[in-house]
């Protein structure tokens, strides 16, 4: 991947960004017309995306200019911690979900970034590590949160079956094995399906961005494939690790459900 720097020739003005808001206005009008009550959420989403992306744009510019590995590591650490907090809020049924999620996201980010650097796919520079790290952590967070949320709901709904198997001498791990399989599938299926349909039903963001910026289509496709494969691996690692670590939190060390079914 030697000539990706060519993909930086496009210039976007603030006026052009503002013009794109016309489509947001259509969404807001549709929401009001159908009483979907999404206008406020749409407004908040527009405002937050503006503030957050502008801020991160300045931070990325600073990091690129400094070319410092420490700053890259600090930014990725912040993303992992915020990702774990966000995912924890989605997986409310899971006791003490923060630490399993933090470890899962950190391992997924470290493993995938480490691998692509070790294989020479990307050079270890901020220009590659920051955007790829952001994508890896974001997708890992979604997969881990969905998987854990499903696991928490299933443990709650099936507490009678779980306790009945514990009563036959099953360990806590054995008692939740069928639930773990379903939860992992839930966490992965969206990404697997989108990978299956990529290029047919939709063009993924990186490829679109590169094509808009004037890159060679072959380079755009190859980079997109690398990212799809990296994301698939990262999301699997994150979901599997989060479930493996968090499933213990439903039980005591004596293989008892912390929240047993109502008698």
């Amino acid at each position: 991947m030697t000539h990706l720097a060519a993909a930086s020739s496009i210039h976007v003005t603030l006026g052009e960004v503002a013009a794109a808001l016309a489509l947001v206005a259509i969404a807001a009008i549709a929401s009001r017309a159908w009483h979907a009550e999404l206008e406020e959420d749409i407004g908040i989403a527009v405002f937050r995306s503006l503030v957050q992306l502008t801020a991160i744009g300045y931070v990325i510019t600073l990091i690129f200019d400094q070319d410092s590995a420490v700053l890259v590591l600090a930014l990725i650490t912040v993303m992992v911690v915020f990702g774990a907090f966000t995912a924890r809020n989605r997986a409310k049924c899971v006791p003490n979900a923060f630490w399993p999620l933090l470890i899962a996201l950190a391992v997924a980010a470290a493993a995938t970034l480490g691998l692509v650097i070790a294989l020479g796919i990307f050079p270890a520079t901020p220009r590659y590590l920051v955007p790829v790290g952001g994508m890896v952590i974001g997708n890992s967070m979604t997969s881990a949160a969905v998987a854990l949320n499903r696991l928490g709901e299933d443990v709650h709904d099936q507490s009678r079956t779980i306790e009945a198997t514990l009563a036959l001498g099953a360990t806590s791990s054995q008692a939740v094995t069928p639930l773990v399989q379903r939860s992992l599938r839930s966490g992965m299926i969206t990404l697997v399906d989108s990978t299956k349909t990529t290029g047919l039903i939709f063009f993924p963001g990186t490829m679109v961005g590169m094509l808009l910026a004037g890159a060679n289509p072959t380079d755009a496709v190859r980079l997109q494939l690398i990212l799809l494969y990296v994301l698939l691996g990262a999301a699997s690692i994150a979901a599997l690790m989060a479930i493996t670590l968090a499933r213990r939190n439903f039980f005591t060390s004596a293989h008892q459900l912390r929240e047993p079914p109502e008698p």
Partner: protein, 232 residues
Amino acid sequence: MLFELEDVSYARSGKLVLRDLGARLPVGASSVVGPSGSGKSTLLRLLNRLADPDSGTVVYEGKDVRERDPLALRREVCLVPQLPALIEGTVHDNVAYGPRLAGHSFDARSCLELAGLDPAFEDRDSAKLSVGEQQRVMLARALALEPRVLLLDEPTSALDQTARDAVEATLQGLRARTAISTVVVTHDMEQARRLADYVVRIENGRASAQGPIGEVLDQEVEPAIATAEDAT
């Protein structure tokens, strides 16, 4: 003595379910009786460490259950819950579940027969059984572990009269054919009479009476008879 409970207290969601409860359950057929919400099912779960008391001790054959390996204890003191909760698969898959975990050999057909089911049920889909049949598969999969004690939580509460009679006959058959001790939780005093020799009565989380079943249940009838005679 099979089980001895001393000063046992247990709270659930901040509400005290058992309060300084003391009770003894001998080898053989025992029953724990009392009204709904009195703590009977909770007591049963303490006997094989599906839960631990907040204070007090539960002793099984002279040794505190907390000093025992919970998995080995549950294979020896096996609980059949109030509502059927079978795993997906065939009846055979369910009967095989416990022995496979423990690395025991087992004979699914004889377990089914002992639980009052035709051995031909072995290949049936467990999801397609009636509640009464499921309850007996629950019993069969517990028997497959060759337990020394069976804990039965309201074993007939979800069943109609016919199925109830069949399950009771099965339990009476077990008493006659095996050396397994049983502890049956029930709110039905007459069922306790039919299935047990010894009874512990629980009210508001405390043991209000215990002893041979005739003595305890007759004591409760006597004041009622006396009151009726006074009225005449």
